[in-house]
Each structure stands twice: as C-alpha cells, then as structure tokens.
C-alpha cells in the first residue's frame, strides 16, 4: 500500500470523497480483493487509534477534574425541578423596568396574553445564561443581563407594584413571592 492509497482511504473513511470519487472507490473495492482488505485493515487501525486516543483523553480530563476541584464555581439552579419550566408564562410575570431593560407592564395570571415581542425577549433571556446564571459567573456574560441575584434582591426588598419588575423563574421563587404577597395583603387591609 502506498501513501496515496492511505490518503484516499482516509478521505473515504471521513466522508471527504466527491460523489464521483466515491463511486470509483466502491467499484475498486468490489473488483480488487486486495484493495478491499487494505481498506478493512485501515478502518480497524483508525478505529483502534481513535479509541486509544479517546481513552487517553479520558485520563487527561480526569486529571483536570482533580486539579479543578478546589476551585469550583457555586451553582444555583435557573429553575425548579420537574414541571415548572415554561409554566413561567402560565405563572406570574410582572414586568416593567429593571436594570435598564424596559418592558411595558404586564400583569399576572394564566390567561394573560403576552406580547409576542416580550415573550421572545423573555425566552431569549432565559435561554441566554447571561439572563439567569448564577451570580458568580454572570457579570461579563451576554446581554440582556438580568442576574438571578438582582431578581432575588428585587423580590426580597421591594414591594411589587406597577412599574416594578419581577421575573419569577423557579418554583421556589414563586412560592417566596406568593408568601410575601400574602403578608403584604394582610399588612395592608383590603379596601
């Protein structure tokens, strides 16, 4: 086998032959048993090298893990377990303006029609970890940057009224929010 064959077979195995080259290649395999055997051997060898390389890589990764152990970022889930997820929209969304991100006011409940523009912005924020990642990694990440920390802060320190922004992204926060609302309602008797 010469180097050209080797290069050709490499191309074949990595799907880099043109349609015409591929036809020729397959025809040659049919007609030439020795060539076919070469291809098979090459395939086994390349597969074996890949597995070998992958196992070396596993060892490297394990070593990196041990080295990184003492210096891991904390983690705070972006959302609660199970069913919560996109029930965000069915749940509670109060929006107005927070940290320079302007939204018109939306009031909660299941039936509310969410402005598609806002919906997509929220989706975008939720998808972008810059939106809701844990506080220790968030600052330099992508915009729009609304950090979980800020949201917590908003829930905990401010009364929610028109013009405030609270985006609830987890079940825990939702419960916390409801409790707070309840307290406030008791403190300020209904008219």
């Amino acid at each position: 086998m010469d180097d050209n064959n080797s290069i050709l077979i490499d191309k074949y195995l990595s799907n880099q032959l043109t349609a015409e080259e591929l036809l020729q290649f397959e025809k040659r395999m049919q007609d030439d048993a020795a060539f076919k055997a070469e291809v098979e051997l090459h395939k086994d060898v390349v597969g074996g090298i890949s597995n070998y390389g992958r196992n070396l890589m596993r060892a490297e990764i394990a070593a990196t893990g041990i080295a990184a152990k003492s210096n891991l970022d904390n983690y705070k889930p972006s959302k609660g377990g199970g069913s919560w997820g996109w029930t965000l929209l069915k749940g509670v969304i109060f929006l107005a303006a927070l940290g320079g991100v302007g939204f018109p006011l939306l009031v909660h409940n299941d039936k509310i029609e969410v402005d598609p523009h806002i919906k997509s912005e929220i989706e975008q924020m939720i998808k972008s970890e810059g939106g809701f990642s844990n506080p220790s990694t968030a600052p330099s990440q992508q915009q729009p940057t609304i950090r979980m920390e800020t949201i917590y802060h908003t829930i905990k320190t401010k009364s929610v009224k028109a013009g405030d922004t609270v985006i609830i992204t987890s079940e825990e926060e939702y419960k916390e929010y409801l409790e707070r609302q309840e307290k406030e309602t008791k403190a300020a008797p209904a008219q």
Partner: protein, 180 residues
C-alpha cells in the same frame, strides 16, 4: 479569578488547548452537572463520571470543523450531561421522572464503536509503538488536528515531514498486526 470565557472562545480553546478548556468548564459547570445527577438518583461519583464523559463528548464535537454552538455553553453542557446520565439510567433500567434545572436542547450523543477483538489487537500494537508514533497517530486520527498543527506541536520542521512520519507510523502499526 480568571474572567469567564465567551462561548466561541471555549469552543476554539477546545480545539487549540483542550486542557485549559477543560479547566474552565470544570470550574464553571461541574456543580451544575453534579446538582442534576444527584437530584436524579445519582451520587457524587456518578456526577464525576458524567462530567468526564460530557467533556469528552464536547471535545469530540468541537473537533469537527463544521461544529458551531447553537446555544450557550451552559445549555450545551447541561444538555449533553443530561443525555449521558439519562442514557446510563436507561441502560441500568432505572426509571426516574426527570427533574430539570436548566433549559436543554436535544443534542445527540455519538455512539462509541464497541471494542472488538480486532480493536484489542490494534490497541496492543499501538502500545508497542514509540511515543512519537503514538502521539502523531492520535493527534491526526483521534484529535483530527491538521498536519500544520501537528508539525508545530511535535516540533517537525514542516507539515510534509509530519505527514511522512505519520505515514511511516501507520505502516509500522499495520505491520505489527501481521497479515491483518
């Protein structure tokens, strides 16, 4: 404290300096994966395994030139880890109702070729090669590095020399496998 890398930087780092990339990923996302695994019937040891396999899968994907992230790294790590852990649970016939803590995408896992007898023989043969040969073959066939990169990494004067060397090593390996 280092500054967090951007998404693109992580992907290109996986291609150019994977050790550094793994370090960043471990630091940034290990706890997230650990949380997911331990909340879904796994223990700390499982979490480490899952994280390692996740890094490996990310490395494998990043090797492909056509690969581009279509979501954030965080979502990507979470999605791959989630897939790996759920597959393991399925393989062990453990049924769980999955608790999720992040958004995820459907990112298919590459099936690793099962180790056949033939591959065992190849492995033994590879171990008999000199270190230089093992390195060049792994860099080319597993890490899918370009000849220019390999030449630079292993100190060959140019890509052609590296290419010739690779060919010789491959021949050596094949000859160790006897008549195939």
């Amino acid at each position: 404290m280092s500054t967090p890398l951007t998404e693109d930087q992580i992907v290109s780092l996986l291609r150019t300096d994977h050790r550094l990339a793994f370090g960043h990923l471990y630091r940034g996302y290990f706890r997230m994966v650990e949380y997911f695994v331990t909340k879904n019937s796994g223990n700390g040891h499982d979490a480490e395994d899952v994280f390692q396999e996740t890094m490996l899968a990310m490395f494998d994907k990043a090797r492909d030139e056509g690969f581009a992230l279509t979501c954030t790294i965080k979502t990507f790590v979470y999605s791959v880890a989630r897939n790996i852990w759920l597959k393991k649970l399925r393989d062990n016939r453990v049924k769980v109702s999955v608790k999720d803590f992040e958004n995820y995408n459907n990112i298919p896992l590459e099936e690793e070729a099962p180790e056949s007898d033939k591959q065992d023989q190849v492995k033994t043969a590879i171990e008999q090669l000199g270190e230089g040969c093992r390195k060049i073959l792994v860099l080319f066939y597993y890490q899918k590095k370009k000849m220019e990169e390999i030449a630079a990494e292993l100190g060959y004067t140019n890509a052609d020399n590296a290419k010739n060397q690779k060919y010789k090593c491959l021949q050596q390996l094949k000859s160790k496998l006897g008549n195939g």
